[in-house]
């Protein structure tokens, strides 16, 4: 059964296009400076390589701009006003991808207000990518059910990130991860610039993808081709590097801080950095006695009279710790 072994795959690429981060990335003081121009030419070659490997492969590209996410390219949609003229020296679909993506990126970058820069809308782009995957994998009403189920493209998402973690986006990112798990979408992450991001590490880990921190940034294209081009079936033969240490810390719901030890609502599993009398998510009231006990055990704002150590053992009933694999269910 040839079709099973050699299925077409859908790749959604999310490109983080924060002007500030890319300016910092291009600075000559970095070990391997990488400018956005050189990044774009390498990413376009990667996108073309994905379409080149199979005629039925589909592609969608989303851009995360400051405070705004935009669909830059999709195989099934025409996003530019007129298709580029045919050229005897290039394959029409490649040319289509190249012109559409560059044209739309520059159009968006031109409209960016040079003043205050809001954080990048990575979550928006991720959600759009998931919605798009949902749309193409679900059989449309016009085609029959059987037809759709036999030709589902294998969907994947690749996030190319340059911005640091945005702790306020913890909840939406976790929700996106859960939807991805449900849709059986693999999320791969390539960290091109900046420190490791905790949330994206978790995203890759929970969806069986790979998280790669780009060390040699001059070899971006080779990294992309070797680690992110193979579909899951090929990865069973040619192994792709995985992260062996994953930071499982979560962000609290009240101040959006990343916490080492948190307090979890026993009803809805919301996470707080301090004991609270009423859960802000499910409105559950906690007994005042338990609250006092927790407050006294709270490590950071030291209580006036420190309790003896013996009581500390049962003071924190449920905590999320750095080694804890479970992530709380979110509403």
């Amino acid at each position: 059964m040839e079709a099973e072994a050699d299925k077409p795959s859908h790749l959604a690429v999310i490109v983080d296009l924060s002007p500030t981060q890319w300016y910092l990335s291009a600075q000559a003081s970095n070990p391997y400076p990488l400018s956005i121009e050189s990044f774009l030419s390498q990413i376009l070659a990667f996108l073309n390589a994905h379409i080149a490997t199979k005629n039925e492969n589909t592609l969608a590209v989303f851009g995360a701009f400051p405070g705004k996410s935009v669909m830059l390219y999709a195989s099934t949609e025409t996003l530019v006003d007129e298709p580029p003229p045919l050229d005897a020296n290039s394959y029409p679909p490649f040319k289509m991808v190249d012109t559409t993506v560059t044209q739309r990126i520059f159009r968006e970058l031109d409209t960016i207000d040079p003043g205050d820069e809001p954080p990048c809308a990575l979550v928006g782009a991720l959600t759009k990518a998931l919605c798009y995957i949902n749309r193409i994998t679900l059989p449309s009403i016009s085609t029959s059910v059987a037809e759709g189920s036999t030709n589902v493209p294998d969907p994947r998402i690749l996030i190319l990130s340059v911005s640091p973690d945005l702790s306020s986006s913890y909840i939406p990112i976790m929700n996106a991860i859960f939807s991805a798990q449900k849709l059986k979408v693999t999320i791969d992450v390539c960290k091109i610039y900046g420190p490791d991001t905790v949330f994206l590490q978790q995203a890759a880990h929970l969806t069986n993808g790979s998280y790669i921190f780009l060390e040699r940034r001059d070899a971006l294209l080779q990294y992309l081709i070797m680690s992110f081009l193979p579909p899951p079936s090929v990865r069973k033969v040619l192994a792709v590097p995985r992260q062996d240490k994953i930071d499982f810390r979560a962000a609290c719901f009240c101040h959006k801080n990343i916490v080492d030890i948190g307090f979890v609502c026993s009803v809805c599993l919301s996470i707080f950095c301090q004991p609270v009398p009423v859960c802000s998510t499910c409105r559950t009231k906690f007994p005042i006695k338990a609250l006092q006990r927790l407050k006294s055990a709270c490590p950071s704002p030291a209580p006036a009279t420190p309790r003896p150590l013996a009581n500390l053992n049962n003071a924190v009933p449920r905590t999320t710790e750095a080694t804890n694999h479970g992530t709380p269910g979110l509403r």
Partner: protein, 483 residues
């Protein structure tokens, strides 16, 4: 009762070797020189890449952007322990095509292939290998995708219909002389005693294949013929590959083609791969048959659905990934309902079912012992009948698991086994032994060699295979000479 194994029992999650594309063995048989000349064109490299298996493609991609050769061990370090066998197979397949240079120490791509594929992916260069677009002509309407589809379908079905009805003594529209010659050369049809062309058993089997396989087996035959016609194989192949990378619904200029390729235009027009306004026209448009040469998807909308084919260019990519529309319902009582008004599909079904009724959009028939035996005697196998029924099953049938009723599947296979009750073997009968001792002695020797097919002690005779004859004869002669 013979054991009958279930269809499609391959587990989904284990990657296994994909059967090679039909063209690849042909390419492998070519000299390194020919292949290197072929790899000079970016479009050829791109198309060949798409014909390869997923693992082979990834290996090429891994090496594509490296400037220098890498040690074999570096690449092998990426392979998981269970995948060693698959990896080695994939590697030797690519080496066989001279895409990766044959070396036990270092791995590197063929430099010609590498630079061409890089050029294909990044664009640029001056090879014009993706086809020179024709000048826009304001006076004429550009040709629609509908027209192209209809044209390709009409051409292709003419060929198939001619084949299927030649066995029944009807005379439908004849395809062109070139096509007839090709069919005859490929052994799908033959003339007996100077009479009209008759379909052969290979031809019957051909009819039950998917359109994509049919197209490629004809094209392969065309390539073999091209060698004999002194056509430059590289030109022929690169033209086919160029067609496969062209865009549907565009017109291309024939001016930049070589003489060989201009000659091919006419042949390919007969097969329905190319559309031209006039025979002498300087422009041509590839049809869906041509642009999907390197796809897995069915190249043609089956004509029962041809009317509902989407017209807008944007939806073409969607409809081409959708599967073929099935139309056959098979019931456990051997009844076949085929929702079609296509004479070709009806004719193909008529190869192995007995027709009962016909309605404007429905054909009803029965799978009977006689009808299946008729098909089997035409050289069609039980597996081919079953796979045809599976491939064209109605969407409603796809809800069943297993897809076809097991009783019917088993019965078709049993009918095939019925025909295999007699087995013939060439050999020699040894009889008229002078004494029982002589007979026993020779028989024991023959049994030692393992060449006895049949023996009868009372008649003092036994039957041995052809291979054993020289030995047995020598044995008897030595014995009679000694005594």
């Amino acid at each position: 009762m013979p054991s009958i194994q279930a269809l499609s029992s391959t587990p989904l999650d284990i990657p296994h070797t994909v059967p090679d594309h039909a063209l690849l063995p042909f390419l492998r048989s070519q000299s390194q020189n020919t292949l290197t000349r072929l790899y000079q064109r970016p479009s050829s490299c791109l198309s060949i890449l798409r014909l390869l298996g997923p693992l082979q493609r990834q290996l090429i991609m891994n090496l594509l952007w490296l400037e220098s050769a890498i040690p074999v061990s570096t690449m092998a370090a990426w392979v998981v322990p269970d995948g060693k066998k698959l990896y080695n197979e994939a590697l030797s397949a690519v080496v066989g095509l001279h895409i990766i240079q044959n070396s036990t120490v270092k791995l590197a791509l063929n430099p010609t292939f590498k630079s061409s594929l890089r050029q294909a992916i990044t664009g640029g260069g001056t090879t014009s290998s993706f086809g020179v677009p024709a000048e826009k002509d304001e006076k004429r309407q550009p040709v629609g995708i509908d027209t192209l589809d209809a044209y390709a379908l009409e051409r292709w079905e003419t060929i198939l219909h001619y084949m299927v009805s030649s066995g029944q003594g009807q005379l439908p529209t004849k395809p062109s002389q070139g096509v007839l010659f090709l069919l005859q050369r490929s052994g799908l049809m033959q003339t007996t005693h100077g009479s009209a062309l008759q379909i052969t058993s290979a031809g019957f089997q051909f009819l039950l294949h998917s359109p994509h396989d049919q197209l490629w087996s004809l094209l392969l035959q065309y390539l073999h013929m091209a060698e004999e016609r002194q056509m430059d194989l590289v030109e022929v192949l690169s033209f086919l590959f160029m067609l496969s990378t062209m865009e549907l619904g565009r017109e291309y200029s024939a001016d930049s083609l070589s003489e060989t390729q201009k000659a091919m235009l006419e042949d390919l027009r007969d097969y329905g791969l190319i559309w031209q306004r006039k025979g002498s026209s300087k422009c041509f448009s590839p049809t869906r048959l041509a642009t999907t040469l390197t796809c897995l998807s069915p190249p043609l909308p089956t004509s029962s659905t041809a009317t509902s084919v989407t017209t807008s260019g944007t939806e073409v990519s969607l409809s081409s990934t959708a599967g073929p529309q099935g139309f056959i319902i098979l019931e456990t009582n051997y009844r076949v309902y085929a929702y079609t008004n296509n004479p070709l599909q009806t004719a193909v079904l008529n190869l192995f079912i007995t027709m009962k009724y016909r309605f404007p959009n429905l054909v009803v028939g029965m799978l009977t012992r006689e009808s299946v035996r008729k098909a089997l005697s035409n050289g069609i196998t039980a597996d081919q009948i079953i796979s045809y029924l599976v491939a064209h099953a109605h969407p409603q049938m796809r809800k069943n698991n297993p897809l076809l009723p097991v009783t019917v599947q088993d019965q078709i296979r049993l009918w095939e086994l019925e025909r295999n009750r007699l087995k013939s073997a060439e050999g020699f009968l040894y009889k008229d032994f002078a004494s029982q001792a002589d007979y026993d002695y020779v028989l024991a020797y023959a049994k030692q060699l393992g060449v006895v097919l049949w023996e009868n002690t009372t008649k003092r005779s036994f039957f041995g295979t052809l291979e054993g004859h020289a030995n047995i004869r020598g044995f008897i002669e030595r014995r009679s000479g000694a005594s």
